[in-house]
């Protein structure tokens, strides 16, 4: 049996100098193989045509329900998955999937990632100084004689003490481990960091410390972040622009105020209305979404959200909506905005 066809066509984009990252029609499919013969019988369409830009020195928030493809988007942008399915990823105007292994290795320090789980992403048998310093040495970021001072400087930037250097990860609390992960990424002097749910596993009071740290570091080092989270209040606090994902698609994308003050997509509206507000006087007018998110291996035809959308029209069931700019910088994929 032949593998199902994938549409890999897209219209290439031009690089614009103010953007550090440009993602165009990006797809990442994971093959589904049948039991014995390992034929590809279908695809999990984890990322299914995603387009956005991030300006240098800004933060883009990426939100959506679990399994909608946020992590896969972040990893594919960094070329941490085994290839993209189609589309473009331009980092400083350079298609990163055109780079040789050697070139991508040289570029690695510039683009880093911080993971959700600070417990499993640190090697248990390495002392903190090694965890932070290993790649610094490997990439020759600083001369040998400056190495110790450099690591101490980074640690202190991240709120770690110099006496923490010889300790091992298990001796730290969740919040401190997340600081170590941030220090490890920062030590390579990156321009761009994907933060994948960096505070979701932490207590509210520790969350605040880490968010403040990320913001301070951004200012000091002119960093650009892609901040992935399902906590919309955190995303609102930290982001300049926000993308909303549903089943592998970026259904809406715009400035923070576009998304929170004038959400255009019915899914964004539902998502925003679901946030519990810590104020007993504010009563939200909740849009409760029926059912759960369909499987990305077998998404609904037409608009993927139509099975749960209260505003669904006939054409939504068959025609895929395309991304439209409804005001400068505010994009939405929904037939409600068809002319």
């Amino acid at each position: 049996m032949a593998a199902p066809k994938i549409d890999r066509s897209f219209t290439p984009i031009e690089h614009s100098e103010e953007n550090i990252l440009e993602v165009n029609a990006l797809k990442k499919y994971f093959p589904i193989q049948d039991g014995i013969l390992k034929h590809t019988v279908g695809y999990v369409k984890a990322v299914d045509g995603v387009t956005f830009n991030i300006k240098r020195g800004t933060t883009m928030g990426l939100v959506g329900e679990s399994g909608c493809g946020k992590t896969t988007t972040g990893r594919t942008i960094l070329r941490l998955t085994d290839g993209k399915t189609s589309g473009q990823v331009l980092f400083n105007g350079q298609e990163i999937y055109d780079l040789s292994a050697k070139e991508i290795r040289a570029l690695r320090p510039k683009m880093q990632i911080i993971f959700q789980d600070p417990y499993s992403s640190l090697s248990p048998r390495m002392p903190v100084s090694e965890i932070i310093g290993e790649a610094v040495r490997e990439h020759g970021i600083v001369p040998k004689e400056e190495f110790d001072d450099y690591i101490e400087g980074i640690m202190s930037d991240c709120g770690l003490m110099s006496y923490h250097k010889d300790r091992y990860p298990h001796e730290f609390s969740g919040g401190q481990r997340q600081r170590i992960c941030i220090a490890r990424a920062l030590a390579l002097n990156p321009d761009f960091i994907v933060c994948d749910e960096p505070v979701s596993a932490l207590d509210v009071s520790i969350q605040a410390q880490i968010i403040n740290l990320l913001q301070d570091l951004q200012e000091k080092h002119n960093l650009t972040y892609l901040f992935i989270s399902h906590d919309l209040s955190v995303v609102k606090h930290i982001s300049d622009t926000i993308g909303v994902m549903y089943l592998g698609n970026l259904v809406e994308y715009g400035s923070r105020d576009d998304i929170f003050d004038s959400p255009a997509h019915p899914y964004t509206e539902a998502l925003l209305s679901a946030i519990p507000v810590p104020d007993p006087i504010v009563k939200t007018n909740r849009i409760v979404l029926e059912g759960s998110i369909p499987s990305p291996a077998n998404p609904p035809e037409g608009c993927k959200f139509h099975t749960r959308c209260a505003k669904c029209m006939d054409k939504c069931k068959t025609e895929i909506p395309v991304q439209k700019e409804i005001s400068p910088g505010h994009f939405v994929c929904c037939h409600l905005y068809d002319e």
Binding site: S66, V204, A270, S292
Partner: protein, 382 residues
């Protein structure tokens, strides 16, 4: 991590001594709670206020660990009125779960023990038991029947190898052996529908792994409701779920409260969830209650510096701040609690007086209590 170091400095000899001593203490407790044929009169009690379904009174629950005694719950008192929802908030490790496990008598034995206090529970219209004094064996008449618990991780309740239907049927069977198999099945399916599972008959024949996290949590809620309990304890029931699923589950709780008029004890660190669901709020810090009151008391007039810090450190979609407040420092070591206000070392508002003994819980309005010297001038005397 200074205090962690202190712990590991415990010499082997010292640690052995502690272990031996603990064994002696816990053996006594175990003997007491495992007794058979205890007359009901021993744990029969009276509610202090007939409107309450549960009254936790000066509860002390300790863990006798090899490093020393952890005073996880150290003098906690609050009431759960009938039909009301009580929200319990506080930082990780402050004793929220231990409080609820004490009510269910599901503490890790033998190291976890209720060492003092009463847990008065109104079993029916004219009878109340002190759960803290009940022999463990008697708890089977309470657990699941009169009080149910919903845990954060649904798989702690569900058995991966049995179909959903069988697990639900079992709950009915456990509490009423007389029912017929097909009646149980019908009841189970009805419950699954009640918690908003669309394809209830299909789900009845599925295994837990075939369901999403949100659906599993609904099944667990269905199980908890099977016997129409008077009190539902939900420990972080939506923390592992997405906001949209969380909204669905909270909706179910609200409807259920109306349908079966039960009380809910809702444990969460999400202040937004509390604001939406609770009638009364209890704020815990390091094993004690630092503030309690109505929802309005706590959210509109928070009095304890910890409560205020907690409110300020959470970003909210309806307020914009440049920088989030973060409470400095960390929780004291539970084995080595200071003899002054537990929050003093992190408190930005402390007074000279705060070096003195731990502040008593004072009443600052008919419904609002706080343990802080700052509020002394607001105290209302009875």
């Amino acid at each position: 991590m200074a205090d962690k170091k202190d712990l590991s400095y415990l010499s082997a000899k010292e640690s052995r001594r502690i272990t031996k001593e603990n064994r002696k203490i816990t053996k006594e407790y175990e003997k007491q709670i495992s007794r058979k044929d205890v007359p009901e009169s021993e744990y029969l009690t009276k509610m202090h206020n007939d409107k309450n379904i549960l009254e936790i009174d000066n509860l002390h629950t300790y863990f006798f660990t090899d490093q020393g005694v952890v005073r996880s719950v150290d003098g906690v008192s609050f009431d759960v009125p009938r039909g009301a929802t009580i929200g319990v908030v506080g930082e990780s490790g402050c004793g929220k779960s231990v409080t609820s496990l004490s009510v269910m008598r599901l503490l890790q034995r033998p190291i976890g023990q209720i060492v003092d206090g009463e847990i008065r529970f109104k079993v029916d219209d004219d009878k109340a038991y002190d759960i803290a004094k009940m022999p463990i064996a008697e708890m089977q008449h309470i657990r699941g029947k009169k009080i149910s618990m919903i845990f954060q991780e649904p798989m702690t309740t569900l058995n991966p190898v049995f179909k959903i239907g069988r697990q639900l049927d079992e709950v009915f069977e456990l509490h009423d052996k007389e029912t017929k198999a097909e009646d149980r099945r019908a009841k189970s399916i009805e419950l699954l529908e009640m918690v908003g599972i669309a394809n209830a008959e299909g789900v009845y024949d599925m295994y837990p792994h075939e369901l999403s996290g949100g659906m599993r949590q609904r099944v667990v809620i269905a199980m908890a409701l099977a016997c129409q309990p008077k009190l539902i304890i939900a420990d972080e029931p939506t923390t592992a779920l997405d906001v949209t699923i969380q909204a669905q589950i909270l909706d179910i709780f609200r409807q259920l409260k109306e349908k079966i008029n039960s009380s809910i004890m809702l444990i969460t660190h999400d202040l937004g969830v509390i604001a939406e669901m609770a009638d009364f709020v209890v704020v815990m810090y390091a094993g004690r209650i630092v503030e309690k009151g109505t929802l309005e008391d706590i959210f509109l007039h928070p009095a304890h510096p910890y409560t205020i810090g907690l409110m300020d450190s959470k970003p909210s979609v309806n307020k914009d701040v440049d920088r989030l407040y973060s409470i400095p420092g960390k929780v004291p070591n539970p084995i080595n609690m200071p003899d002054y206000c537990y929050f003093r070392d992190r408190c930005e508002k402390c007074l000279d007086k705060c070096d003195g003994e731990y502040p008593p819980l004072i009443k600052i309005s008919d419904t609002h209590y706080v343990a802080c010297y700052r509020s002394e001038d607001k105290e209302v005397k009875e």
